[in-house]
């Protein structure tokens, strides 16, 4: 399809100016397949956390779009992300969720790879290959770009994708409210417990756009607030500092990210949230004061929720976590949720948070169950040929401008659907080729981005260290 025709086809489905999005985006298998090539093969995707692979040989099997990948740390402490498929016949070389190993061995014919991706073992190498097989050409396929951003590992299959910091843009300040220590120090988080994984019968974009900042659906969680699952064991499901702050919806339509944070307008004292557990209450009071001291006026920004385009969502404060909405079909999503905590938090704090996080999130979490009900039944009710004729409405706040705060992005101080419109504006740009066409100034021409994945391209010994978020070479360790 010529790009102009593709553009017209996509924008017939996504009309952000009118605030109308076709239901086809949520049920159409052909669009879903196109997303894999045009979007997931180009975007920066969250893979895992460095605390999941602290030692050489540690690995965590993750996913990038539909692709199974291995996040691992080699003997030299370098972090890698490899496609989890043998170069010989494609069998998975790692079938466990996580662990430690000196080699990834394919169970089919026995090809074996080091944790640096090199092909190190080939059965009958002398007898049947006559030592003619060039092992250096047949290592595991490795992502061409990888970054360790404050402990979180992100990767892209697109060699020409912009550096992660550029990809993140103004979303950084919001994402940092998740990743930085509660007392304002940079980074310092670790994964608390295991990764929760579950499957939902809905399209991945329902979850992504919800976490991009759907503040309109609070009514869905009213029963949770009535039950009182807050950190103190009562009251609203999350922390209460937000009641003394200004809502700050931030959309980045040229990047696709969206966030809702809160901005304290005055010098607000700490708001007690863990009254039932004095040690935890004292810890968070201390962190709150320290953060104000370290960050000054920047400490006024309190993160709530956000989605890094396309499918990495977070809850910045309570329950502090990252979720990835893995696409598994037009009507199926595999959700993974990582819970974070400051690595040096006292054990009592981690234990209380673990219980609170589980009350709130994950397949058994009361709030996440509410969300899934909505997404699952919306999907079911959108499949029919009649239902598909009627687009969804994204018109809340359309045409209004609230940009009065000193913060990047398109901002609102009230509930609006600008973040969702921004998400789909970016989605359309990827899908119609505008994002990836070099004639449009894009750096992501799909024809030029396959190098990292082409057969024989993998040469780990010459690859050097992965860049950091600013594009500089750095150690992944």
């Amino acid at each position: 399809m010529a790009r102009t025709a593709r553009h017209d086809a996509i924008h017939a489905l996504v009309d952000v100016k009118q605030g109308l999005i076709s239901r086809e985006l949520f049920v159409n298998e052909e669009l879903y397949q196109q997303e894999q090539e045009r979007l997931f093969a180009h975007c920066w995707l969250f893979v895992g956390h460095e605390s999941q692979i602290p030692k050489p040989g540690d690995y965590f099997v993750s996913a990038m779009g539909e692709e199974s990948v291995i996040l691992t740390r080699d003997r030299e402490q370098r972090i890698h992300v490899f496609l989890n498929t043998c170069r010989h016949r494609g069998m998975k070389v790692c079938r466990y969720d996580e662990g430690n190993t000196p080699v990834f061995t394919c169970p089919y014919h026995g090809w074996s790879y080091g944790t640096d991706g090199r092909l190190v073992g080939v059965p009958y190498y002398r007898e049947c290959y006559q030592e003619q097989l060039d092992k250096a050409e047949w290592g595991l396929v490795e992502v061409p770009q990888l970054v360790n951003y404050k402990g979180t590992i992100w990767a892209t299959w697109d060699e020409a994708a912009p550096p992660f910091a550029e990809y993140l843009g103004g979303m950084k300040v919001h994402l940092d409210t998740l990743l930085d220590c509660r007392d304002g120090r940079e980074g310092g988080s670790e994964v608390l417990g295991g990764v929760q994984k579950w499957v939902m019968p809905c399209n991945w974009k329902f979850a992504a756009e919800n976490f991009a900042g759907d503040a309109y659906h609070n009514i869905s969680h009213r029963s949770v607030d009535l039950a009182g699952i807050g950190p103190s064991g009562a009251g609203r499901r999350d922390t209460v500092e937000r009641s003394t702050a200004q809502r700050l919806g931030a959309s980045f339509p040229d990047l696709g990210h969206g966030a809702v944070s809160f901005l304290q307008l005055d010098d607000v004292p700490y708001t007690p949230s863990y009254q039932n557990t004095p040690i935890v209450e004292e810890y968070f009071r201390h962190c709150y004061e320290e953060r104000k001291r370290r960050l000054g006026k920047d400490a006024r920004l309190l993160g709530l929720v956000g989605n890094v385009f396309p499918n990495t969502a977070y809850l910045a404060r309570q329950p502090r976590s990252i979720a990835v909405w893995h696409p598994r079909g037009a009507l199926k999503t595999e959700a993974w949720r990582w819970f974070l905590v400051d690595a040096d938090a006292p054990p009592e704090v981690k234990d209380v948070l673990r219980h609170y996080y589980l009350r709130y999130s994950g397949p058994a979490g009361m709030t996440e169950q509410d969300d899934m009900e909505n997404w699952n039944y919306a999907t079911l009710a959108s499949k029919g040929v009649i239902a598909r004729r009627y687009p969804y409405n994204y018109q809340m706040g359309l045409g209004q401008d609230y940009g009065t705060y000193d913060s990047p992005g398109v901002l609102t101080d009230r509930i609006a659907e600008q973040n969702q419109r921004g998400f789909y504006e970016r989605w359309a740009a990827y899908m119609d080729g505008a994002r990836t066409d070099p004639r449009n100034g894009g750096r992501n021409d799909g024809r030029a981005t396959r190098k990292g994945a082409r057969p024989g391209a993998h040469r780990p010994e010459s690859r050097g260290k992965p860049p950091d978020a600013d594009g500089r070479s750095r150690s992944g360790g």
Binding site: V103, T105, P107, G110, S112, G121
Partner: protein, 64 residues
């Protein structure tokens, strides 16, 4: 000849290979397919003696 379960081979175990070589297990990744081993003897190539190699399960014929 019984099939040898590689997962039971501990470091230090001496094993015989199909080409007549004898190697000593250095480490075992427990994948059931390979072990890391050092050559103690090799009628095929004496330069291998002392070197370490990954040994494929089907090349192992006996425990010595």
């Amino acid at each position: 000849m019984s099939v040898i379960n590689l997962r039971h081979l501990q470091p230090g175990t001496k094993i015989g290979l199909a080409d007549g070589s004898t190697v000593e297990v250095v480490s075992n990744p427990l994948d059931g397919i390979w072990v890391f081993a050092r050559y103690l003897s090799s009628p095929r190539d004496t330069s291998l003696i002392g070197t370490e190699e990954m040994i494929f399960a089907q090349d192992i014929v006996e425990i010595r």
